[in-house]
């Protein structure tokens, strides 16, 4: 699996999408964008169009699947949901992030653990 590690935002975005689907259940693109913006608050400025390449990739990897349905405003929308493999991927990625952030945390506050 070739995750492009330099593309940090992309990788982060994928994780955010997966987590959103995990917490909120099946969502359409607009719903995912709203949720990410809500959670991110001012700290995140999302260009909503960039969501779609990420969704394509997640779908190709088999981590999410899509289905057309009707949204709350009674519009046709494509709903994405996590697949079992997507859920496994989310768990693995979450652990990795926790490890990395803990490590970075130790680096930035080196005295604390000593």
């Amino acid at each position: 699996m070739s995750e492009d590690r330099r593309d940090v935002l992309q990788g982060t975005l994928a994780l955010m999408i997966l987590q959103t689907l995990e917490t909120m259940g099946p969502q359409h693109g607009y719903g995912i964008a709203r949720r990410i913006e809500q959670v991110g608050g001012d700290g995140l400025r999302l260009n909503q169009g960039t969501l779609y390449p990420a969704l394509v990739k997640l779908e190709q990897q088999g981590w999410i699947r899509a289905k057309w349905g009707a949204s709350d405003n009674n519009r046709r929308a494509k709903f994405y949901s996590l697949t079992p493999r997507g859920r496994r991927q989310l768990t693995a990625e979450t652990k990795r992030w926790e490890r990395v952030s803990a490590l970075i945390g130790r680096f930035l506050r080196p005295t604390e653990g000593a």
């Binding site: 260009n47 169009g49 779609y52």
Partner: protein
């Protein structure tokens, strides 16, 4: 994981219309939701929409980014390139036709020849674990008389006595013996003579092919009088309708009832069939008397063994040699055992020819590639400006290279398709042409492996072609190509590479021409070899009389005498003869003792000669000349003094200057003494490829002189002998309607068959050479025509300054013919170096045969001259005034 993603991508791409529409709808839906949101916050519809698009940040970009993420772009580009390549090919029909045909010929010829070679040489044998099967031969010290011709040892098949000892070898799970046999199958309908195998009990176990029905042979089945048989699946279907009741039923072989104990598997083939023999349809246990089981000189059983697990052929050979060493004096000094994988052994005789064909046809493909490369160079030049413009406008080199590569691939794919179609036709044609003596021909088919091979060639070729435009592109600085120096630079580079290609073409086709010339010379030499007998308009047949009805030699003689009389009454018959073996149809060699002049026997008796028992008309039927003494006559019967006629070679070898008439010989110390009463001219009994052997002709009527069975009959007709088979059969059946009349063939047919392999190889080599020559001519013409085109202004200038058309022509020809001469010289050198590899395929012609070399050079020289002349002539038609303006 990666493959899965790739498959998903491919599936999405194949449904890309729907996928794209889906994406558009999804993006639209997103924007609509955003718009709704803004409307809810109080904006009017239009303003809300503007705000939504702003928030979204570019629908078109998002769409493109998503498509890119799907990986459509390279695939789209490929499709575009393929379409573009096809358009280009269609727009240049002459180039396309030349290239596709050239490639098609090369690939088609290769696929066809590979199909043949694969079936004969490479394909595994049709038995389980075929690599574990080995053929076992005995290396037997030759008698001093034969040593000169045959070398110190001769390869012989095994003996039953030795096999009994070989069975002790632990390196083999089992070793079996087999030999082909023919039996009359009588009762019901036309009597037939069918081919079968006599085998030792282990045979089916060794091959790993137990009968599909009933049982295999087992120890004890090989006792005398125990008449059992295993029949082929085909015979079972044909004679017993595939009924299981066949087991326990019986068939009559040579008039004796044999109980059927088994039916072979449907795809089972006897080992002798692999060697090119007729398919066996029955198997009987080989039965040997005590004499055979103790005499180590009776080489009557071919041996095949299966290696024990974890044993190498070398280990088994060592073990067998150790066993053979214990035979001691009974086999003679120098006796040994040789062992080869069965597959290699089967292909032993055919392999040199097959590999040579593969090499020759490979050269043809190489030539085809060189030719197409030449064509592509010209096109690369022609498209140089276009490519340069595109590079200048910002196309990446990678993109343009990919496009060029695609064009090569498309071209090669077209060539491969044409080639494969051609291969199907060629294979059928080859099979119709191929001598039946080649082994395993029934396996020839264009199958997946051949397909793979062809695709492999195509891939290789496409790599070569891909290189040409890339090289060209690599050298093209865009400024340079767009600038004024273009023609000079491009022209000189392309000219040089095309000249080099032309040299290669000339050299390659010279090699093939020399090969073909050598083969044709061999065939011509062979056809000039005198047979010593007249084979025209002679029809021959075999009648193998069963012991049950014709128990002794006299009974058999009476049958043939009566048949001959009957046949002589047919209209148009000039002469009839019969014997044990007739010319071109085998023979019998026996040791003999030449009595000294005083009647005593010499101490050394290691002499052998062909012994044939014949009816007196033999010499007339085959037009042998009587040289001294008398011929045999009807008076030489049982009861009259034993008489024989010998040939010149006999006298030359055993009597020298002594007078042969009145000398006596005998086949053994206690055998009857026979007087030599005459000398006849020599014949090549085995055909043109065979040597003249010493021969002794015994009168068939004196049946006590020989242990042989009379079984062949020959009739000379005044006209078309081939059409008289039914008459011959009818006359024989008038004597005994139960006897199958087998192998009815004219002697000319037998002769043709014997030389079929030589003719086949000469024909194929000539075909390849002609193909190569044609390709080379196209190449030469292309180079010269191109060069002439490049130099038209120069030529126009020369002519304007007073050069005549003739002098221009001579000037141009001189240049090109020097090149052709260089190519030819290189080809001749290569042919000389390669010569040794085809030595075994030649007959009385050395690989360096000067006539073949001169002929090949002359052909290529003359052809090149014509090609140059045609191409160069257009130069002299240049209208100077228009060109110089």
């Amino acid at each position: 994981m990666k493959i899965r993603v790739a498959l998903v991508r491919l599936r999405e791409w194949l449904r890309r219309g729907r996928v794209d529409a889906d994406l558009d709808a999804e993006l639209q839906s997103h924007v609509d939701h955003l718009t709704d949101e803004h409307v809810r916050r109080g904006l009017d519809r239009d303003a809300a929409r503007q705000a939504a698009l702003r928030d979204f940040g570019g629908v078109a970009q998002a769409r493109e980014a998503a498509r890119d993420r799907r990986g459509f772009r390279p695939l789209d580009a490929f499709v575009h390139d393929v379409r573009y390549a096809l358009r280009l090919l269609i727009k240049a029909p002459a180039f396309t036709a030349a290239a596709v045909l050239t490639l098609g010929l090369g690939i088609g010829a290769n696929a066809a020849i590979f199909s043949l070679v694969d079936a004969v040489v490479f394909r595994p044998l049709p038995y389980p674990q075929p690599a574990r099967l080995v053929a076992i031969w005995e290396l037997v010290p030759t008698s001093p008389a034969r040593r000169e011709a045959a070398g110190p040892v001769s390869r012989e098949i095994g003996t039953p006595a030795n096999l009994a000892d070989y069975r002790k070898a632990r390196g083999a799970t089992a070793i079996a013996g087999y030999t082909t046999t023919t039996r009359n199958v009588t009762g019901g309908g036309t009597p037939e003579r069918l081919v079968g195998e006599e085998v030792t009990p282990e045979y089916f176990d060794v091959l790993g092919m137990p009968p599909a029905l009933g049982r295999s042979f087992r120890a004890g089945d090989d006792r005398p009088g125990h008449r059992i048989v295993i029949i082929s699946h085909a015979m079972w279907r044909e004679r017993f309708g595939g009924s299981p009741a066949a087991i326990g039923a019986s068939i009559a072989l040579d008039g004796e009832r044999h109980e059927i104990v088994g039916v072979t598997a449907a795809d089972f083939r006897g080992v002798s069939q692999l060697y090119g023999g007729a398919p066996a349809v029955f198997w009987v246990p080989a039965v040997f008397d005590t004499q055979m089981l103790t005499n180590r000189h009776e080489h009557v059983l071919a041996l095949v063994g299966r290696l024990a697990p974890r044993t190498t052929p070398a280990a088994l050979a060592g073990e067998l040699r150790a066993i053979a060493a214990s035979f001691g004096a009974s086999v003679g000094e120098g006796f040994s055992v040789d062992l080869a994988p069965l597959r290699d052994d089967v292909a032993r005789d055919a392999a040199p020819l097959m590999l040579m064909l593969l090499g020759a046809v490979g050269l043809v493909l190489l030539l085809a590639c060189v030719n197409v490369a030449g064509l592509l160079i010209v096109r690369a030049i022609a498209r140089r400006r276009e490519l340069a413009v595109r590079l200048a406008l910002g196309a990446t080199r990678l993109r343009v290279a990919g496009e060029l590569l695609t064009q090569s691939i498309v071209l090669v794919a077209c060539g491969a398709v044409a080639g494969l179609a051609l291969a199907f036709v060629l294979v059928r044609w080859l099979l119709a042409l191929t001598p039946v003596t080649l082994p395993r021909l029934d396996g020839v088919a264009i199958d997946g492996r051949v397909l793979l091979f062809t695709i492999g060639i195509s891939a290789l070729t496409s790599a070569v072609f891909g290189l040409v435009p890339l090289l060209q592109l690599g050298r093209t600085g865009t400024d340079d190509a767009l600038g004024t120096t273009e023609r000079v630079v491009a022209g000189s580079w392309a000219g040089r590479s095309r000249t080099a290609l032309m040299l290669v073409e000339v050299a390659l086709s010279t090699v093939l021409l020399v090969g073909a010339a050598l083969m044709i010379r061999s065939l011509a030499t062979l056809n000039q070899v005198p047979l010593g007998f007249d084979a025209h308009d002679v029809l021959t047949a075999n009648v193998r009389l069963p012991a049950a009805r014709y128990p002794d030699g006299n009974a058999r003689y009476r049958f043939f005498e009566a048949a001959a009389e009957r046949i002589a009454q047919l209209p148009g018959v000039e002469s009839v003869t019969f014997g044990n073996r007739l010319p071109l149809r085998g023979g019998w060699t026996s040791g003999f003792i030449l009595e000294q002049i005083d009647g005593s026997l010499p101490a050394d008796s290691t002499t052998a000669a062909g012994f044939q028992s014949i009816s007196p008309s033999y010499f007339d039927t085959f037009n042998l000349r009587a040289l001294r003494g008398r011929s045999l006559s009807a008076a030489d019967r049982e009861g009259s003094p034993a008489a024989a006629v010998v040939n010149e070679e006999f006298v030359r070898r055993f009597l020298g200057a002594q007078n042969p008439l009145g000398r006596r010989l005998r086949r053994g110390p206690k055998a009857p003494s026979i007087e030599i009463v005459g000398v006849v001219s020599d014949i090549r009994r085995g055909g043109r490829l065979a040597d003249v052997q010493p021969e002794v002709y015994l009168p068939a009527a004196q049946t006590s002189l020989y242990p042989l069975w009379l079984e062949q009959i020959a009739v000379r007709f005044a006209g078309d002998a081939a059409a008289r088979a039914d008459d011959l059969r009818g006359a024989i059946w008038a004597i005994d309607p139960d006897q199958p009349v087998a192998a009815i063939r004219t002697l000319e047919d037998v002769l043709t068959l014997g030389q079929a392999e030589r003719r086949f190889q000469a024909f194929l080599f000539s075909l390849f050479a002609v193909l190569a020559l044609t390709l080379a001519l196209v190449g030469i013409y292309g180079v010269v025509a191109y060069a002439v085109g490049q130099r038209t202004p120069e030529i126009a200038l020369r002519m304007a300054l007073g050069a005549t058309a003739g002098s221009i022509l001579r000037w141009m020809l001189r240049q090109w013919l020097v090149l052709v001469a260089c190519g030819t010289a290189a080809g001749l050198l290569a042919a000389r170096l390669l010569g040794r590899t085809i030595e075994s395929l030649l007959f009385h012609v050395t690989p360096g045969d000067p006539i073949a070399f001169v002929a090949a050079s002359a052909v290529i020289g003359a052809a090149a001259l014509v090609a140059c002349l045609v191409a160069a002539r257009s130069a002299t038609r240049v209208d100077a005034s228009t060109l110089l303006r």
